[in-house]
Amino acid sequence: MRTVPPVALCYVLCAAGGALACLAPAAGPATPWPAVGLLAVLYTGCEHAGQCRVIGRRVPQGMGTFFPVLLAGAFLLPPAAAALVAVPGALFARTDRRPAGLRRVWRAAQLALATWAAARVHGALGGTAAVSAPHSPYALVPAGAAVLVFCATLALLDGGILATAERVPLRAAWRGLFPRALGPVAVHGLAGLMMAVLWRSPYGPFAALLVLLPMYISCWVFAQYHRERAAHQETIRALVQAVDIKDGYTRGHSERVGQASMMIARELGMAEERAEVLRFAGILHDVGKLGVPTRLLRKDGPLTPEERRIIELHPEYGHEMVRGIGFLGEARAAILHHHERMDGSGYPYGLTGAQIPEFARVVAVADAFDAMTSTRSYSRARPVDVALAELSRCAGAQFDPQMVGALVRALGRHGWHPAVTADEAAAQVPWPRAARRAASR
């Protein structure tokens, strides 16, 4: 969003105007200022906790928005006052992307409108009385309705900004926004209800604060989870880069085999989780080459039988390496058997036909396809249709015809767009080179 389209600007200004109209009644005498102030400070604090150094040595970034305080405000306060709670926190929140000012105004307006609507619905259903005397589960009804309205307002406004600023078609912008947000908002809503009940009880606001602790901790742990997962993917990438460089292939061979395997998996109608594991099988299929001497992998000219035998050990090496990685599951068998052939002339075990694991048959096809369509030291890249014709010719003897057919169909439908992504182009230095530089320092 470098230059803001005028439509989007207009949309944001309209939202801000609407929010101001909702906030206006707060100037009247009915506003309980101490409660508004306390909740607003609390919300701002929660939004800023990510930057605070006191709470934890390494608080991760990107904890997401913290709704329980806003919803508690909606359950406790009149609509205008509840909307006011959201404003300072959203205005002072950190944004990484430009234009920061406009984004802050938009966020404040959006949250103020959603909170106002939620408070309105909650009040209309008699929620205020239910929160003050919560002797029956009826308090859940207005709270549930308020959560629904809150979530729907957010989704509606979000869809609008996607449509105006990013020019996504309206229907596509709205699709899935509401159901995706509902789960987390519902849990936050229960926490908000809990806060409101305790706030109104004789125990007062202090008891309400206790509710935030488990919520904060779970947000914190989720953020750590994402960080750790990113680090893990980075490690796998490093592993794969190491193989590609050692082998002297064009960079990204492993990633592309993963991509092609995934396409075949989707075409075969595999469940999403299995397809993901199959992608890892494709990415890691040659990891055993780390164990083969670099001289052999890069040798120009014909190999002696002895050298060939050593290179052909790489599936077993790879299997030995990833044996301990639990989540790879079936992918481990694929790494071991991706050089088997349907007629039994492959290695390491010479399995035939259906004895070869399904994942291995997929990876074999994807591997051969990418080897043909990318430039190697010993051959030029061939066009996709020539490669597919070659695969079809070898189907039955070398490859599983079912997998070849699936690849042909998938490519016919989606085309072949190998992921030479921006981050590959802006790549970090491949590691032996970086390592050499570090060592010469």
Binding site: M215, I217, L239
Partner: protein
């Protein structure tokens, strides 16, 4: 990762400590069950509701027994809430401390029946700790409350909530001390760092459990029993978050271990070397009182300490880097550090790997430990039954420059206790 140690010199005293704690828990359970059966249950509806909550929490426990600090957070929170419950929906309750213990134990046992049937029930230590901490909280609160003194002193407002939180903090501290004492008795690791690790973990899931316990006790007092299932939901979310975090950490560790095996398969280092050095480093780090995050850094660094050799064109004979000239060692270490930096692991790990060949006075403690453990494993290998002693002797002779004397002595203690047994692979 599990560690088994041969019994050390303090094992007699250790057995007494563990037996005392478990015995106390068993006696307490027997007395409270007996008394409750004899006198009958006060407010059976409330007791049943909390019992169901605790049983469900126990049912939803995660992980291997003993693997996690708080395997059943919902069960613990429910038990603490019942221990600190003074009213339901404005009506005063009358259950005593013994009934609290009886209900909690019975519910926890019912909830762990399926786990026991599957062969991974809660460990005896864990159950004993649970009984004692719940009993502690209940004994602090229930008698005072039931005699009406709390109401007279504090009234019914914010001071009451503060008192509950204070009691929970005290209970958590007791639990941490108890857990550290049991771990100390079982493993012989120093008590101070163990207690520090327990307290650090307390800030995470422990504080969520305590806060939820207080919230449930207060919310039930205000709203009644319908609040019970509703208000447990945020804690379930916390439990889910921790579980996913634990899963991704396990996967990550496995991947790092695989990366470490790459050098073994490539023939640069002997079989199992990286795992042995990691296990030794961790044991020495424990012995020297490092905290849990430092131990993780230590373990990852030890696993990847030879990774720089992958960038070499020709393998070092037997992977014995400790025998190479210092200049060459440092070059390989720098290569390794550069590789580790690319893998997205914590930068501290990379520092340890690239500094591992420096003289010990220039190294961080973690790098000193990895260097010593690596040298020991290389020297002790293949020298027959005398290998360990010879290796320790050679390390002691080199403490002037290469190895820190304290670390070598700590390693000697670890080795004399029978070293470490590796976790089963896969």
């Amino acid at each position: 990762m599990t560690w088994t140690r041969s019994p050390g010199p303090g094992s007699g005293r250790a057995r007494t400590t563990v037996a005392a704690v478990q015995g106390l828990a068993v006696v307490l359970t027997a007395v409270s069950l007996g008394s409750t059966v004899w006198k009958g249950v006060e407010e059976p509806g409330t007791a049943l509701a909390f019992g169901v909550l605790i049983a469900v929490g126990e049912l939803a426990r995660w992980g291997a027994p003993g693997g996690d600090r708080e395997p059943a957070p919902l069960g613990s929170a429910g038990a603490l809430a019942y221990a600190l419950l003074g009213e339901t929906a404005g009506q005063a309750t009358h259950h005593g401390a013994l009934q609290v213990v009886a209900v909690c134990v019975a519910a926890a046992l019912v909830g762990s029946v399926p786990h026991l049937a599957l062969g991974h029930g809660p460990s005896a230590d864990h159950m004993a700790r649970r009984v004692l901490t719940v009993a502690f909280a209940a004994v602090c609160f229930q008698p005072l409350y039931n005699q009406g003194r709390l109401g007279a002193w504090l009234g019914d407002g914010a001071a009451y909530a503060l008192l509950l939180v204070g009691l929970l903090v005290l209970t958590a501290l007791c639990d941490a001390v108890l857990a550290a004492a049991m771990a100390h008795a079982r493993t012989g690791w120093p008590f101070g760092p163990l207690l520090r690790d327990e307290l650090r973990a307390m800030i995470g899931i422990g504080s969520a459990v305590c806060a939820t316990g207080a919230v449930i006790a207060l919310a039930v007092a205000v709203a009644g029993l319908w609040a019970l299932p509703v208000f447990c939901l945020p804690l379930l979310l916390t439990q889910l978050a921790f579980r996913r975090y634990a899963a991704v950490r396990t996967t990550y560790r496995q991947t790092i271990t695989s990366l470490a095996r790459a050098t073994e398969i490539a023939g640069y280092t002997p079989q199992g070397h990286a795992l042995r050095v990691a296990a030794l480093s961790r044991a020495v780090g424990r012995e020297l009182g490092l905290s849990e995050p430092d131990l993780t850094v230590l373990e990852y660094a030890a696993l990847m300490h030879d990774i720089g050799q992958l960038s070499l064109v020709d393998p070092v004979a037997d992977g014995a880097t400790a025998a190479l000239p210092a200049q060459e060692q440092r070059r390989i270490a720098l290569l390794g550090g550069a590789v580790v930096r690319q893998t997205g692991v914590d930068a501290e790990v990379a520092v340890v790997v690239e500094r591992q060949a420096d003289p010990y006075r220039e190294q961080p403690l973690t790098a000193r430990i990895v260097r010593t453990a690596n040298a020991y494993d290389e020297m002790a290998r293949g020298e027959g039954p005398q290998g360990p002693l010879t290796a320790l002797e050679r390390l002691r002779l080199a403490t002037g420059r290469d190895y820190q004397p304290d670390v070598v002595e700590s390693l000697a203690r670890v080795v004399s206790r029978g070293g470490v047994t590796l976790p089963p692979a896969g």
